[in-house]
């Protein structure tokens, strides 16, 4: 459960970070405000309260939106971490040299192609170190989803503890499992970094 929530939550977080960062940098005021509202609301309030809203408040009138606890966990964590990620992505996109944009224009690329072929690969590379932190943060925050009835790793550990009273062993194992999961994220991001930085000089951007 923890693994699944972390995986899908991370994907959602990355996508919403990119979309929100683009909105934030957009020249259309409405899009900019929409992105700022999203970022500030999700950054400025507690994740737990966000999960409660999605799970307990939305199913009631006038919203009447009912979602499974699993969907709520992914949505809540993804959007929450995505809001932090948006600011990371914004900085990363702005770190791409102006000359890259000019080269794209001289080659007559459309803004869309320019973004996803040229700017995004360079921005993602710059966003990886802070992005890794955020995804590990997301992993650790999954322990909150037991409060909306999901049995995640931490919740299971407590259940087991109550049943067996092998407190030390169980929580040592829990710690180890979280640590291992974090290392998996680390490794994944390293691999992505290696791919994106093919041919780059070490430590150099553009």
């Amino acid at each position: 459960m923890t693994v699944q929530v972390t995986f899908w939550g991370s994907l959602l977080a990355i996508v919403s970070a990119i979309v929100a960062a683009l909105g934030r940098l957009s020249s259309v005021p409405a899009l900019r405000w929409l992105a700022i509202t999203y970022i500030e609301v999700f950054r400025g309030t507690s994740l737990l309260v966000q999960l409660f809203w999605l799970y307990f408040v939305l199913p009631m009138p006038p919203f009447n939106i009912e979602m499974s606890a699993f969907a709520v966990a992914i949505l809540g964590l993804g959007l929450h971490i995505g809001a932090y990620g948006a600011e990371v992505m914004r900085g990363a996109i702005r770190s791409v040299a102006k000359g890259q944009y000019e080269a794209c224009q001289a080659l007559n690329m459309s803004p869309f192609k320019r973004f996803y072929r040229i700017v995004l690969p360079q921005a993602l590379l710059a966003a990886i170190p802070p992005g890794t932190n955020l995804l590990i943060e997301l992993l650790k925050n999954t322990s909150l989803v037991s409060l909306i009835t999901l049995s995640d790793l931490a919740f299971r550990a407590r259940q087991l503890d109550q049943a067996t009273f092998m407190t030390l062993e169980i929580f040592a194992l829990t710690l180890l499992l979280y640590f291992l999961l974090a290392q998996v994220i680390n490794l994944g991001m390293r691999m992505l970094e290696r791919r994106l930085s093919r041919g780059r000089m070490q430590g150099g951007l553009s």
């Binding site: 890259q100 007559n108 690329m109 690969p121 930085s197 041919g199 000089m201």
Partner: protein, 259 residues
């Protein structure tokens, strides 16, 4: 009477209250090689950047191949500011090489050259690859297809950038001080590529340069820029041998002293 391929008519560009291009007029014939020289800050780069649509102009009109670049005809026949779509259509005839190369750092030399033909012109990858290989061979980088920009010298990077611009088959090529960021011994290889381009293709070329020797031997016409206007122009023999204006003489003797 052949129509000029590039025409600037009364073009003015301002930054705040600094006038960078001042009622500029310039016609360039198809196939002509024009070198633009002049003091720093006189608006030479701005001229090329306006033609590449990297800068908007405040007044006047630029036409390329009889089509307005900065403007387009509205439904009632009047000319209005061009929208992005119109600019994309006309801009395709122009290519540009920058002082700072601006290669895509995450792509190999070959990918840099293939990128726009595949993504913009919609060529299939095989055809684009063949063309890119030919172009890289032409600029003398036949061995370096798979090198990334960080693995190439400045002169090699600039030659990739030339190949990349040529891959879009522009009618007009713009060169903005393409050797200024290079060590003197690397300039030669880039200039000889440009020389070869001039000889082999009926390409129109506009180049801003501080290399008077190259301008003199290569260009059909030299334009001396001063305060956002073409102060004096003529064949290399006229302009270098017998400049009419004081300012031109001043500039040329200052450059000669420096070199």
């Amino acid at each position: 009477m052949p129509q000029p391929i590039v025409r600037f008519t009364d073009v003015t560009k301002r930054y705040g209250n600094l006038t960078v291009l001042n009622n500029l007029n310039l016609d360039v014939e198809a196939g002509e090689k024009v070198a633009i020289i002049g003091p720093s800050g006189s608006g030479k780069s701005t001229l090329l950047r306006a033609l590449m649509t990297l800068e908007d102009i405040d007044e006047g009109i630029i036409t390329v191949d009889d089509e307005p670049l900065t403007h387009m005809p509205a439904r009632d026949g009047r000319l209005v500011r061009a929208n992005a779509r119109h600019q994309r259509k006309v801009r395709g005839k122009i290519g540009m090489v920058f002082q700072s190369f601006n290669l895509f750092p995450h792509m190999s030399a070959l990918q840099n050259v293939m990128e726009a033909p595949v993504q913009v012109l919609g060529l299939d990858r095989k055809e684009a690859r063949e063309r890119a290989c030919e172009l890289l061979d032409m600029v003398g980088l036949g061995e370096k297809h798979d090198h990334y920009p960080s693995q190439l010298s400045g002169g090699q990077q600039q030659r990739v950038a030339i190949a990349r611009a040529l891959a879009m088959r522009p009618k007009v090529m713009l060169f903005d001080e393409v050797t200024s960021a290079l060590d003197p011994e690397l300039c030669g290889e880039v200039l000889s590529v440009i020389r070869r381009l001039g000889a082999e293709h009926s390409l129109t070329m506009l180049m801003v340069t501080h290399q008077m020797g190259f301008a003199r031997e290569f260009a059909d016409r030299i334009c001396f820029f001063h305060q956002g206007r073409i102060h004096e122009q003529g064949t290399p023999a006229e302009l270098f041998g017998n400049p009419r204006e004081d300012r031109t003489r001043c500039f040329l003797s200052a450059v000669n002293e420096a070199q």
